[in-house]
Amino acid sequence: MAILKGKKVIVIGDRDGVPGPAISACVETAGGEVVFSSTECFV
């Protein structure tokens, strides 16, 4: 189901949570276009 079709998505992942590439993969599966993806360390 392309629930993000036509959407541009900025991804900020968490080192100790869900990292950027994993979120990006989900976004793309849902039809979204990842325009920026990064994983950050908040500790």
């Binding site: 100790d16 990292p19 950027g20 993969a25 360390c41 500790v43």
Partner: protein, 514 residues
Amino acid sequence: MNSVIKSASYVLAHVPQMVIHNGTTQTTERVVNPDGDYLKELPKHLRSFKDCVEYWPNQVYIGNKTPEELEAVEFPYYDKNIDGASRYGKYGEIMPEDEFLLLAQTCDVFEVYYLTRDFVAATRPKLEADPIITDDIKGRIQEGIELSEIEKLVKEEAAEGLYLDGKLVGCVKRAHDIDVNLSAEVMHENIMNKATGVLSLLYLVRNAGINAADVDYVIDCSEEACGDMNQRGGGNFAKADAEIAGLVNATGSDARGFCAGPTHAMIEAAALVKSGAFRNVAVVGGGCTAKLGMNGKNHVEKDMPALEDCLGAFAILVSENDGVSPEINLDILGRHTVGTGSAPQNVIGSLVADPLERAGLTVNDVDKYSPEMQNPDITKPAGAGDVPQANYKMIAALSVKKGWIEKKDMPEWIKKHGLTGFAPTQGHVPSGVPFIGFARDGILEGKYKRVMIIGKGSLFLGRMTNLFDGVSYIIQTNTSAEESQNSVSRDEVKKLIAASLKEFANSLLGTEEA
């Protein structure tokens, strides 16, 4: 035979003035929002040395309290101090800012670090009264210079000021006119890292009951870089620390891997000792001024103390098997490889499940797991959650998928195999390594048989790769007695060879006779 964990040390330096002047959250704020409320409010949220010493997580870090005792304390911790707690602990100490500034002076070998005469005169007796400070270090104390000279260096030479209770008491000069790698800011950062590293090495030697001269290799696993414009991260903190700590027979090198650095370094140390290349390898990680007050904005906003006011450091001694101390089992290593991927289940699978499966074990065969041990008192108000708990949930969830535990048992499993975070948010410092001292003691007491140390590193912060990183290893009860029971002794080998030769000779004689 496996190498062993011979001793561990953990130290903190309480440096509230460096929070204001050197933490990158604050230095950034001074550039982008110099007149904002945060910088005005922050000084009101800095803790006294007494409050810092009596803070529960700090008392756990230096070994006066255990993580189990901390677990029983109602959250949050910052308003439940331990009255009368000592600055000295089983594993190390919490040093106040004035003494630490003087200790750092003794770590300067290039005449870039200056304190005022008055400050040195007032602080020298205090530092010299610390039982861990050696005569060599006392002999390195310089008398200091006039305040006017320091003011001039700060104003005209871009020196980095050193402060105590809001007053200028010294400075760190740049070590080169142009090279940014030797700027006053970088020299300050590196000298503070070195000073905390030295302090942890002093305690390491004391705790191990060995001579400083017995350490023959040092691996530094901090996240700072020392070098000049032609070799930005050339190194070598390890040998620089060893020199001041009096480890005269040690050589060494720096290992880097962001927060995973200490775990990589421990595996390398264990391999160096097991191979016979070196006998006593010290792994040391000094403190990080950049991370002071990293979550300060959230702490100030929530009207709580700015809890990131300490430089943290540690040192672990990995030695030849003494038949008693807990061993590092190099046969059960977790490794996040280039091909592992970054999905959380892949990460935890590679670091926890895969090595256990290869060894024919499950998650239930390890008594305690030490992943990222950040103090939740610091991270939860900042919105980063309880990092150790997040890691345990991931391990437990993967274990349910593997069929090792029931889903309904996850909370109980986490309570039994998990730990409450107590380490300062100093990057590499909370990464697995803070529990090694307790793991060693617990295994010696028979409380644990196996403890897994997990280090994770955010390689993507260096913008060279998007890859994540991590490694893990197991500390276990000493098995050398079992090994010697199962193995054949030298005499037995001689007897076996003699019997074989005799049999062979008899067979030859028998052939000739026939």
